[in-house]
Amino acid sequence: MGGAVFRRLSLSIGAAALAASLAVPAARAELIGDAEKGKKLFAQCKGCHQVGKGAKDRIGPHLNGIFGRQAGVHEGFAYSAAMERMSNDGLVWTFETLDAYIDNPRALVSKTRMSYPGMKDEQQRADLLAYLRTFSDNPANIPEAEPTATGTDHDLDPAILALEGDPEYGEYLATECLTCHQADGSAEGIPSITRWPEEDFVVAMHAYKNKLRPHPVMQMMAGRLSNEEIAALAAYFKDLDG
């Protein structure tokens, strides 16, 4: 027990040290964010995250009440091992830690599944965080607004979405994906594709297949996959926990 307390204590110190190292000169901490501008910037996040009334977990967790929340503990979302490790180390989402994370996700949480290269402009980050804060300061009082995620904004045939994928076939097909995409879900130069909700996976792959999404390699790879094969891949990656 004493050992456990000590461990907990040392972790807290670790977290404090982390926060300290992330702490910024006072002038920067006082940057005033513009929530209206932040709302526009949130378009970069919408592919994976919802925020607002009725927001649900999609590829990423919903962001209501993110301020003050311990990282990696929001119930019902399957976090990466990397995020769980940071959670165990005591990472809490504050202005400073969120700012560092959005600046360079992999610098704060190496091997995170968040496939976002980073928002380099300090003022933009302040704007974005000001916007997110409007859904956090008083989580009970979330503004009346539609959920913002675009993951379900598509005109894909419901019959395609309803296809049940064969995960065993998906496992074979996935070997091709895993030449580039990391099985452990980390994202370095190439996005993470593990543990996506099946619907998001299917929508994304059809968007490549139909050349709506621009990446040439993915257009080529998705272009020759049948509807059943895409469903099989979605079924496999949904549970892949490297």
Binding site: Y169, T175, E176, T179, Q182, A183, E188, V217, M221
Partner: protein, 423 residues
């Protein structure tokens, strides 16, 4: 041509027959045995997938003489100073510890296909039910007059990564001011089609910083080369005036070298060179030839759907040693072929489900800092060859953000494929 057991023409019916009767049971061996010769992108991937997916049902032995394997892909980036040597070195510890692969650091010196055994230089003999041969390339003797393998320290090939790559890098960095770097480019087919030209880019990148009046000369027997427009645009943009390419129209196909004198003779024009990178014509790794699995082309003919040798249904050949139809010789291709072969081998030995073969390849090349390009394609197995389905290539004139993203993508791919090979 007689059809005996050494001449195997793959058909669906035959594949099904071998599936129905796993060879191992007849031998009374507790587990079917797979021996993999060569621990590169083909062999390491195949060993890992067979061991992983058979969940211990198949006994997998991997034979490779090197304890640390340096990938040829990204070895040019080491020459250019973008990677450290350690970044491209990998060991087999995880294959042994996490996947139960029996890793043997030895040379395979003989394959007896009648007895189904592999003899090792160290004296051991390994029996197999299925053999996977992924030996990479060796050089064709006499393809560059004046050069042979004993001259590789004077004129490195650096087409197998490791000490040769280190040597070439050191020679480039020691070039006198305003010196001359020459490359003898190989004829088709060869390992890594864009590789010589990425190498030239990386050499130019180094010289531009250390020795900006130095020159690069490429003697090439080919009238055109992979990603040519992209490389030429990049050389013009980043290294204007430094690189001269001499194709066959100007005698690039009539080249000899003199390592003792450090000269190169291009169609009668003799140049004294400070560094000479000779990349000879290539053939399948020697063990494939010794096993009697190569033909006049110097490479191994394969059954596209399974990567089985056309000459022996119990041998699968992967990667650079094969004639893989429309697929280029690349690490990505070998990794892709390995997964098809692994599935076929498991299907034959344990009756696991076999899905239709799919192949793909992408080759990234770096021209200068944050200026990456790529070419790629998908392939399918037809009766006679691995045939291209669809493809893409980077465009000339792309913006710098696209090129930077392409380079970052290549780094992500490197992490992905090396994890896929070595666990």
């Amino acid at each position: 041509m007689t059809i005996d057991r050494r001449t195997f023409i793959g058909t669906g019916a035959l594949a099904a027959a071998s599936l129905a009767a796993p060879a191992v049971l007849a031998q009374g061996s507790p587990r079917p045995r797979v021996v993999v010769i060569g621990g590169g992108a083909g062999g390491a991937t195949a060993a890992r997938y067979i061991a992983k997916d058979s969940k211990g049902e198949i006994d997998v032995t991997l034979v490779d003489p090197t304890r640390t394997y340096f990938t040829c892909f990204f070895s040019n980036l080491y020459i250019g100073g973008f990677k450290e040597l350690d970044d491209i070195g990998h060991t087999y510890g995880s294959l042994a510890a996490d996947y139960g692969v029996n890793v043997l650091h030895d040379w395979a010196v003989e394959v007896d296909r009648d007895a189904r055994t592999v003899t090792l230089a160290g004296g051991g003999t390994l029996g197999y039910d299925k053999l996977i041969l992924s030996p990479g390339i060796d050089f064709v003797d006499g393809s560059v007059p004046g050069w042979d393998i004993t001259q590789q320290n004077r004129m490195p090939h650096s087409w197998k990564a490791g000490s040769q790559t280190q040597l070439l890098k050191a020679q480039i960095e020691a070039m006198p001011e305003g010196g001359l770097f020459a490359m003898v480019a190989p004829p088709n087919p060869y390992r890594c089609p864009p590789g010589p030209y990425e190498r030239v880019s990386m050499v130019a990148h180094v010289l531009k910083q250390m020795n900006p009046t130095a020159k690069i000369l490429i003697a090439d027997p080919k009238p055109k080369f992979s990603k040519q427009a992209l490389f030429e645009e990049g050389w013009q943009k980043h290294y204007g005036g430094m690189v001269e390419w001499i194709g066959p129209d100007f005698g690039g196909n009539n080249v000899s070298v003199n390592p003792a004198e450090m000269t190169i003779d291009i169609d009668g024009m003799v140049e004294t060179v400070d560094v000479c990178n000779v990349i000879p014509a290539q053939k399948a790794g020697r063990i494939a030839e010794m096993a009697g699995l190569t033909d006049d082309s110097g490479f191994c003919q394969i059954v596209p759907a399974t990567m089985q040798s056309r000459m022996d249904e119990d041998v699968h050949v992967l990667g650079d040693a094969t004639n893989a139809g429309d697929m280029p010789k690349s690490g990505f291709s070998a990794n892709s072929q390995a997964k098809v072969a692994a599935m076929a081998v498991r299907g034959a030995l344990t009756g696991s489900k076999v899905f239709p073969a799919k192949f793909s390849n992408t080759c990234w090349s770096l021209i200068d800092s944050d200026d990456g390009i790529k070419v790629g394609a998908t392939y399918e197995a037809t009766e006679e060859k691995i045939a291209k389905v669809d493809g893409f290539i980077s465009q000339t004139g792309e913006d710098s953000a696209t090129r930077k993203a392409t380079y970052e993508e290549s780094e992500g791919w490197y992490s992905g494929i090396t994890a896929d090979m070595f666990g």
